[in-house]
Every structure is written in C-alpha cells, then in structure tokens.
C-alpha cells in the first residue's frame, strides 16, 4: 500500500459538561488521541462497545461535529482545517451511512429527491439527466428504479439502508464512514447489506471506515481492524492477525464474548467483571485496568498509561502484551 487515502492524526473530541451548575465538571473525553490510516479501496473496522467513542470518531472526521484537536489528511490537505467554501466542495468525497434506517431519511422527501440532493448540490449532472442517474443508483443498490417517487415510510429497514447507501453513492465518494450500518437490521437482511457494501467496494474502489460493535461483522468486511476502549485505540492490525492472536486483554475478552452459532466450537470464555467506565472520569493509568483479567497486571497498569507499540505486526497499547505463540 502506497500513501493512505485518509490519515487521521491525534484526533481528540472532548464534550464540555453543560448545564447551570456543571461549570466545574470535567469534560467527557469521548475521543482521546486517535490516529489511523485507511488505504485506497480498503476497509478499516473500528470496533468497541457503546460509549467507547467510535461513532464520535466517524462524525468528527466528517466534521459533523467539531474536533477538539487533531487532523484528518485527505487529498493532500487537512479536512478539519478547510474553510467553509472549500469544505462544502470537499464533502462529496467523504460520505456517511448511518445505523438507524428510520432517522436517516427525511420522512417528507421522496426517495428520488433524497438521492438527487447531492447531485444537485454539486451540479454533477444537468437537471434533465438527474432522474436517469437516480434510477441507475437505485438499481446499483438493488432496488427497483420505480421506487423514486415513493416516500421512506413505505420501505423496510433493509430497503431504507439501501436508499441511504444510494444517497451517499450519488456524489461519487472515495471514502464512506459506515456507522454501524447493519446493527439495526435482522440477520438475513444484514447479510444482504454487507454483501452490497463489499460489491460496491470491489466495483468502485471506495474505502470504508466500518464502525461496529460486532467483531464477526467486522471480520466479514474489514481487512484491518482497530479496537477502541474509552476513547483510545488499544489494538490494531490486520483483521486476521488480530482476531487469530489478539494481544490486548480487552480484545481477547471481546472476542470470547462474541456469540457463535455453533455448539461444537469450544472456546475459552472470558467474562469481564463490571461495565465500561465513564469517559468523564476515566481510570488512571491503563483505562482497562479495573476490568483487566490479565494475571500479569501490576502497579504500572494503574499509574502509567500504555502507548501503542508494535508487537509482531500488531499495534497494542498494553504494558504486558507479548508476541503470542
């Protein structure tokens, strides 16, 4: 892989505590120094549990929320530093697909207009050609081109998700943030959407940041994976390597908790104690130490924050991680 398509460096997003008496409250450290790259035509899976900051990463990259610090290099410039006019132009290269197929479509806008919106904004086609483009896009995502005149409420969750994908594709993006795009779907429909995303990538060479909580889904679609815990990446590397030989105790636990529809698979079950801690009051040292089952856990884990380091092709943020077998 040559130079990456998207490079995220030191991304930070703090939410100020709001409210009348909350002046003194510490900020919520939703994203606390995240860096990664996504190559052309590649999928990076960003995995973690609720509240780990993975969705905030996706939205901050696209400037749907303002970053507290950090930069996102795309096409040779820092996307986070673009002025409003340049930003509006650049936006079409970076798109997003959402989790909730219900709130992601405007209930008062028919499907054709929703898909056409990006084409109109960026004047990608003459007015007369827009209906034809919309029909093509509907077909590309596996929907009947005749659906253009219908309204979102007439569609199922899976169909709505396809419409959302068509809307993003309309502006010919190079990079799409997929924010839990299949978590709200039934398994049979989930598989349809995963296959569609894979086909689009093969055909159009699009890169994805695929945000998910389900490691099995990420394994299906992502070549590389980054595991987040409490606003930071704790482990990243090639999906096959990370999942076959996880080095971070959190990744190990997450992996062992994935339900497997096969009673024959006998696996080591690691049950983590407690809940993920609050990002407004993260534990000292390694944020994972209060739940960490690793027998090597020591004093250092509670005082010194581990940084990502290379171990056998994987990057891990753990003082005690070692090359596995």
């Amino acid at each position: 892989m040559s130079s990456p398509l998207v490079e995220v460096r030191g991304l930070v997003k703090y939410y100020k505590a709001t409210g009348f008496l909350a002046r003194k409250a510490p900020p919520v450290r939703a994203v606390d120094g995240v860096s990664f790259t996504v190559g052309k035509g590649e999928t990076l899976g960003l995995v973690g549990e609720s509240g780990c900051g993975k969705s905030t990463v996706g939205r901050t990259i696209l400037r749907l929320q303002d970053a507290t610090a950090g930069s996102v290099f795309f096409d040779g410039s820092d996307f986070l530093a673009l002025d409003p006019a340049a930003l509006r132009q650049a936006r079409r290269k970076l798109q997003i697909i959402f989790q909730d197929p219900y709130s992601s479509l405007n209930p008062r806008m028919n499907v054709g207009n929703a898909i056409a919106e990006g084409i109109e904004i960026h004047r990608l086609a003459p007015r007369a050609e827009i209906p034809g483009r919309v029909a093509q896009l509907l077909e590309e995502v596996g929907l009947d081109p005749g659906y253009a005149a219908r309204y979102p409420h007439e569609f199922s969750g899976g169909q709505r998700q396809r419409i959302g994908i068509a809307r993003a594709l309309a502006v010919e993006p190079e990079f799409i943030v997929c924010d839990e795009p299949v978590s709200a779907l039934d398994v049979s429909v989930q598989a349809q959407v995963l296959n569609l995303l894979a086909d689009l990538q093969a055909r159009r060479g699009i890169s994805y940041l695929f945000i998910a909580h389900d490691l099995a889904v990420v394994r299906q679609i992502a070549q590389r994976v980054a595991v987040m815990y409490l606003g930071r990446i704790v482990e990243s590397g090639r999906t096959e390597e990370v999942l076959a030989r996880p080095a971070h105790p959190y990744t190990k636990a997450l992996l062992s908790a994935v339900p497997v529809p096969d009673p024959e698979t006998k696996r080591l079950r690691i049950i983590l104690p407690g809940d993920p801690p609050s990002p407004s009051n993260p534990p000292s040292g390694c944020a994972f130490h209060p739940r960490c089952p690793d027998p090597d856990k020591d004093e250092r884990c509670t005082t010194e924050r581990p940084v990502l380091r290379q171990i056998g092709g994987i990057e891990v943020a753990c003082h005690h991680a070692k090359v596995n077998r």
Partner: protein, 325 residues
C-alpha cells in the same frame, strides 16, 4: 414426565380497520421442568407476542383467539379469573424484557422494587423483605449490593438494571422464567455476563427458561431445545445439537448462512432473498415459499404441517416428506 408448560395452537389476532393481522398463528410447543427452550426468529415473526401471551399480557387490541391452549402444569391459563391469573404472573412465571430501563419504575429504589415483589408473594415484614432483596442482589452478582439497595434505576448501568430485573423476577421463586431478548440492548461483554448469570441461576434453582432471541449465537451451547419462528409459526423445532448439526428447514439454513462467523475462512455470506412479509399479508401455502431457494410447486398452495425429520426434530416443510421417500 408431564411438561411444565404446554402451548397448543396459539393464535393471536390484531383487529384493525384495514386488514386484520394474525402475528401469531398456530404455535405449539412444550417446556419441561428445568429445561431451556429458545425461540429464535427475526423481528415481526411473533416471538415476543408468544411470550407475552403466556401470561395473557398481549397488548390491546390484540386478542388470543378461542381454540388456543396454554397450560401451566395442567392449569388452563386462558380460563383463569383475574385473581388466579395474578397468582401466576410474577409468581410461578417470572418475566424479563429487552429494555430494563423502561421495565423499572424510575421513582423507586432497587430495594423498594425487589421488596415489593417479595412481599407480593410472601407475607413477610418490610425488614425481612429488604434482607431478602439483599440476598437476591448478591445472587444476581451485583457488585456492592448493600449500596445498590438504595440506588434508583438511573444510577445503574444497563447490565446492572438487567440484573435487578432478574432479581425482581426471582423474588417469587418462579418455576419458569420468560426472558424476552434479555441481552439485546447490552454490550457484548455485558451480554456475556448476563448469559452466564442465567446459566448459573438455572442450574442452581432448577428453573425452566423460555429464551426469546433473534441471535442464534447465544442459543448454541446454552439451550436444550430450539424452536425457530417465521411469519407467526414455528417452522423448525429440535434439540440444540440436532438443529445446529442438521438444520433442515430452508429458513433455518438461510439464517445460519447469513451470520458472519468469527472463525473459519471468510466467505461471501449467503443472505435470504427478499424481506419478511407483514403480518397483514402472510403468503399462501408455506409462508416462506416466496423467499425459499428450494420451493416446490405445491409450496405456493399447500401449507405444510409439522413433519418429523428426526428424533425430536420437526419442521413445517414439504421437503421433510420428500426426504423420507
């Protein structure tokens, strides 16, 4: 051994001004003492309504149609008067739901809510009920149970709320626990905790569990038997080992092929074509035939009964007959 719970030809209707729907349409199953039966299906298949019907909690205007039978150790649940029904609800049959936040009363403490459940079924003093509440919190593995007694639901994490719900359900020493998607709203690591807790409680108390879920993964290695639901009906029923070793109904096979795996080689998923029909428009004949890759001509017109495919293994599919010939 006579079964603890018998359900025969359960049918539920929702009358409406337009088309009348029958989201549950002829469901029969039984559950023995101490057994764990999992009912698996996608959204809209009628699995949650089936669970609610066991305690006659079908929300209006839904009605259980005459001819349906629900027997709890020989008692005809559908013939009970209001007072007798209360002696079953929350006493002999406990229930937990997907969203523990809406199931808990936000203005009462944990101790209040568990004690209420204790005192509803046992004549004990407030002090004794509180002591019992503490024991139950310990049993469901809540950390710092003494402090948690005086917490309000909003002070608890999702996993702890679900533990409190389980404690409330256990307060009356039920013979049957109905768990409707108990871990769907939880993170994977917390899901693993709750599932382990349910396993442990079942073993310790000899309590039967009816587990309603959309996730075949949490069924494997946990349930004794599995019933797969589609379009208001049980389409396949077998011991867990048999179901995963020889999934026979095309829908069950389709579901299993749709799930991304965490082990083995990554191959393209094989989704089930189309979408689940709405309960107002179940297809004629076999309800799965429009989506079925193996459909025969007769499937469009003739509704298959439950046919045997092995020992304790039945399915509603004409292929069962073809296989025997």
């Amino acid at each position: 051994m006579s079964p603890l719970l018998e359900v025969e030809n359960l049918r539920i209707t929702f009358p409406s001004s337009g088309a009348t729907s029958r989201p549950v349409d002829g469901v029969s199953f039984s559950l023995s003492k101490g057994e764990l039966l999992a009912v698996v299906g996608e959204s809209g298949c009628g699995k949650s309504l089936t669970a609610l019907a066991l305690l006659r909690l079908v929300p209006p205007p839904g009605q259980i149609l005459p001819g349906s039978v629900i027997r709890l150790e020989g008692t005809d649940v559908l013939a009970l008067g209001a007072a007798e029904l209360r002696s079953i609800r929350g006493r002999r049959v406990g229930m937990i739901f997907q969203d523990p936040m809406t199931s808990l009363n936000p203005v009462f403490t944990v101790a209040d809510q568990i004690s209420e459940s204790v005192r509803a079924h046992q004549q004990v003093s407030k002090r004794a009920a509180r002591a019992r509440a503490l024991e139950l919190l310990q049993e469901v593995g809540i950390p710092d149970p003494v402090e948690r007694l005086d917490n309000y639901p909003h002070q608890l994490s999702g996993g702890m709320r679900q533990r409190v719900m389980i404690a409330i359900a256990l307060a009356s020493e039920p013979e049957l626990l109905v768990a409707d998607e108990p871990t769907t709203a939880l993170d994977v690591t917390v899901q693993a905790q709750i599932l382990e807790l349910l396993d442990r409680l079942r073993a310790a108390r000899g309590m039967a569990v009816l587990l309603i879920t959309h996730d075949l993964g949490i069924v494997a290695g946990r349930a004794d038997r599995v019933a797969v639901m589609y379009a208001g009906r049980l389409v396949e029923e077998a011991t867990t080992a048999a179901l995963f070793a020889r999934p026979s109904h095309p829908y069950t096979k389709g579901l299993l092929a749709s799930v991304p795996r965490i082990t083995g080689t990554v191959t393209r998923l094989t989704p089930i074509a189309g979408t689940v029909p709405p309960p107002t428009a179940w297809p004629s004949g076999c309800r799965f035939h429009p989506r079925c890759p193996d459909a025969l001509p007769r499937c469009a017109t003739d509704d298959p009964p439950a046919l045997p495919v092995g020992e304790q293994h039945r399915m509603r599919c004409w292929l069962a007959e073809a296989g025997q010939r």
